[in-house]
Amino acid sequence: MLDVSIRGRVGDFETDVVFSGSAGVTALFGQSGSGKTTIVKMIGGLVRPASGRIVLDDRVLFDSTSGIDVPARRRRIGHVFQDSRLFPHLTVRQNLAYGRRFARGNHGPAFDEVVELLGLSPLLARRPRTLSGGEKQRVAIGRALYAAPRALVMDEPLASLDAARKAEILPYLDRLRREAGVPIIYVSHAIGEVTRLAETLVVLSEGRIVAAGPPAEVMSRLDLGPATGRHEAGAILSGRVAGHDDAYALTTVRVDEHEIQVPALDLAPGTRVRFRVRARDVALAKLRPKDISVRNVLEGYVTEIATNGGAYAEIVVAIGRQRLRARITRKSAEELGLARGEPVWALLKSIAVERGMLTAEPGSDEGE
């Protein structure tokens, strides 16, 4: 458990944040320059906050009132940097082993476990210069993890990678969050990564927290505006794999009482999944449409409408206990007479749910 409450200077503005991270991923999300990196450097002891308190598992790492400021090397917070920062003169094996010698008495993961978790065995004898960007980041994650940290801080670990490399690493991160067993603070400005990985989402803007909570809750809020993404904004649904239609390569996911068909997933029936549905991929209808290619037609009612005088209207639709966001034209919203409480049909194309937007949840094998 990591409790953070800090104030300090970040570039041109003051930061003032309070949040906690428990086991699993807490994502710090915000645009570039919102203070994310400085905040994690303060947590790691690389930048000194002006005031505040940082506590990790009942151990005070920083407390301005009592003058405690544990140096970075004794904080036991693993740091994964955007630019990997592998030691160029050491092999991958030596890089991985670097921090473990300082982990006295701590029972961290075994070397083979880390290697297996991140798929590093073919790389062990190589030097960082010969690795691809994605491989470097995997080694950097392994190096931080094998040092047996009490928390992991990951500062935009995927930001410098292209889409293919990102897709290569995300499954490893997904395993990491389930198997690392320590709180992970994950900094990103990419909403896709954040909604896939985070159990808790902390949205930052100009050094301050504007929203915090479970991703599904935060992402269905309309009052945050562009802070939760423009193009990529969308709500998160969670459900269970109900079955596969092999003939058409489709998988049915049960979301409460609704069934949603998505392109085939390689997951066993019963697996819990959550996925982001971009607001711009959802259309609305007043009557149930017939003879239409869209496979997912979900009955719900409008809970919230937001417009800003521009072309768009943002609408939140309650689908059972969950929320879906739709971005339609303001004109359509007016012509349909959409209002809070009005019943409405939400139309979601199956192919709008891409594999990269979907996560299998931990504890997926157990029943409800």
Partner: protein, 230 residues
């Protein structure tokens, strides 16, 4: 070409001994100064930098004379060292090593400073987050990454120490078997009638020794940088 005389062999061995001692003692000093100049911000930093580089611009005779004043048996530092540690530099080969070391210092400090400056501090920061203390970070990250520059400084310093003349002859004179290094021996021979052939022989030896040192350093530096980056 006839074989070297015992006196000439003595001068060669003495030169290597003096230069080797100067670098063995001077390199750690150069490393400390180079690191401090590269990484620390302290008052008087520019003065330290200036003092280190002074022998580069002063006439060597002046440097030698200053050493004589300071480290001579009646000099403030020299008398202190003799009384407390029994260390005497004046007119001893150890004094020649001091003179060679002082003259070589700026040539060692500069490449070391540049090499340390070129080491990415973000790597040191990463090592710190992994739990490493300052000394460990220095030994395992900074030092190995700066090694090609440190080696370049050491070789340059060794070559300079091997050929040092002005400060040496002023500080410790030209005593056969004690302070008469290769350079001083060549000088003595050129002052002697009929010493031309012997002077030429020693000159040849000096060229060979220096060349071997330079080629060896180039070879080691190349292997090192390949290992570091590759």
């Amino acid at each position: 070409m006839t074989a070297l005389s015992p006196a000439e062999i003595e001068a060669l061995i003495l030169s290597l001994q003096v230069a080797g001692t100067a670098i063995a003692v001077g390199l750690p000093v150069a490393l400390l100064i180079g690191y401090a100049l590269a990484r620390w911000r302290f008052p008087g930093r520019e003065i330290v930098n200036g003092l280190v580089h002074l022998p580069l611009v002063l006439p060597p005779v002046v440097t030698g004379y200053l050493l004589l004043i300071l480290l001579g048996r009646r000099g403030p530092v020299g008398s202190f060292l003799e009384e407390n540690f029994g260390l005497v530099f004046a007119f001893r080969w150890t004094g020649a090593a001091v003179a060679a070391g002082v003259m070589a210092l700026p040539l060692m400090v500069r490449p070391i400073r540049l090499a340390v400056e070129a080491v990415d501090t973000r790597l040191e920061e990463a090592a710190e987050t992994l739990g490493a203390g300052r000394l460990f970070v220095f030994m395992t990250v900074t030092l190995p990454l700066a090694l090609p520059g440190i080696l370049a400084g050491a070789i340059l310093g060794f070559a300079k120490a091997l050929g040092e003349f002005g400060a040496t002859i002023t500080f410790v004179s030209n005593i056969p078997g004690e302070t008469r290094t290769l350079a001083l021996a060549v000088y003595t021979l050129t002052q002697t009638p009929s010493g031309d052939l012997a002077a030429l022989r020693l000159t040849f030896v000096a060229v060979i020794v220096s060349l071997i040192a330079l080629i060896a350093s180039e070879f080691v530096a190349r292997r090192l940088s390949r290992r570091l980056t590759g």
